[in-house]
Amino acid sequence: MDQLILALEECDFVNEPVCVPGDVADLFVFPNIVGQVNRTVFLIFLAAAIVIALLYFAFRRPSLVPTKFQAAIESLVGVVRNDIAVGIIGPDGIKYFPYLLSIFLFILVGNLFEITPLVNFPITSRMAIPLFLALVTWAIFLVVGIRKQGLKYFGELLWPPGVPTGLKPLVGVIEFVSTILVRPFSLAVRLFANLVAGHVMLSLLLVTGWIFISNLVTNYGEIGLKGIAGFAWFGLGLGIWVFELLVAILQAYIFTLLSAVYIESSIHPAH
């Protein structure tokens, strides 16, 4: 937040309706603290630690009648296990449950950093995390496809049943590009873009609101009654904050769900 305010401190609050940083990267790239370690790297490890802590404290001494905390974590785990792993992939899906639970919780915590006070930065808005996770999913569904069906898998993948022979070259190219080349990037970009957009909106609205309101008090001569607009920006920011809570949960769910759908399509090629 401090860095954001620094990035926006040269805000032309007299002439501009909203404070915009000179370079949008200022909202996403943090200076290094030690060596190559910046705030984002620290937050990535913090997300991992939070996931581990949540699971550890929920299942350290599980009781038959769960506490509220255990029940809450169990319901999250249950969604991934029953609705995604077994629900989408089938009974075989239980093998992929550890991976699906890992990506769901890691992305969920990373997304929720966006709306966590004092953190205010989703690690999934940095391409490294969505791209890495999407590539892992991509590798898994290709490996699973080859292991289950051998090289025939690529035939099934490129030419779905019922494609006329004349169209096979064209369909093959389209399927190759859409399934093998684009799929990991579409998976990554869906998550990345949602979180980037959310972070930009929240930062600009809340920081602009804050700057306008504080200048209304300290620099009334310059900003005049326009400073009241700061309340509107701040209020809108808080509204979007609630909306972003939904986006954070939904995007984690969608990423996990699509990973399961891709793995399922490699196991059961008929679909």
């Binding site: 370079d23 190559q36 991992a48 996931v51 599980p62 785990v77 296990r81 890992s102 391409m127 490294a128």
Partner: protein, 178 residues
């Protein structure tokens, strides 16, 4: 794909396009952090979750079995009680019927006995009456004979052979009775 993005970045002269590329330190941190999360979940969390679910399943299963057992026992007891009640009712009805039959029998015996006694009393009375009547007849007959002889003696003025006359009177009365 990366080349396309890189080309785009070059043409735009950096800035925003940088955001589309993964930063190496963040990528390495992501790989390590996710690796740790996955290892922890795979080796510790999932077995713990499965254990917890199995224990709960077992506990609920055990409780259900216990409840079923208790219900079966309760059903057995209920059936026993019902059978006992039915048996008691049957026995009660039997006893009532027996008592009724006995009462009927006693009643019939009493009536029969009373009838027999009444018959006996009647017969005895009839017998006594007959005997009395015979005795009165004999007495009357003797009195009539004596009176007749006394009268005849007075009329004839002498004594008559009493035994012979008595025999005559007796024969006469007998003729009259015939």
């Amino acid at each position: 794909m990366l080349n396309v993005i890189l080309a785009a970045e070059e043409s735009e002269g950096g800035g925003g396009a940088d955001l589309l590329l993964p930063a190496t330190p963040e990528l390495i941190a992501g790989i390590i952090a996710f690796g740790i999360v996955f290892f922890f979940i795979w080796r510790w969390a999932v077995p713990a979750i499965n254990k917890s679910l199995e224990e709960r399943q077992r506990a609920i299963g055990g409780q259900l079995q216990e409840a079923e057992k208790t219900k079966a026992e309760a059903d057995g007891l209920l059936a026993d009680y019902r059978a006992q009640i039915a048996e008691a009712k049957a026995k009660q009805n039997e006893m009532i019927d027996e008592a009724r039959a006995e009462a009927e029998q006693v009643k019939a015996d009493i009536i029969a006995k009373a009838n027999a006694e009444a018959e006996q009393i009647l017969a005895r009375a009839r017998h006594d009456a007959d005997a009395e009547r015979s005795r009165v007849l004999v007495d009357a007959r003797s009195d009539v004979a004596n009176l007749s002889i006394d009268l005849a003696e007075r009329v004839v003025g002498g004594s008559l052979d009493r035994d012979m006359q008595l025999g005559l009177v007796e024969r006469y009365i007998q003729d009259l009775e015939r």
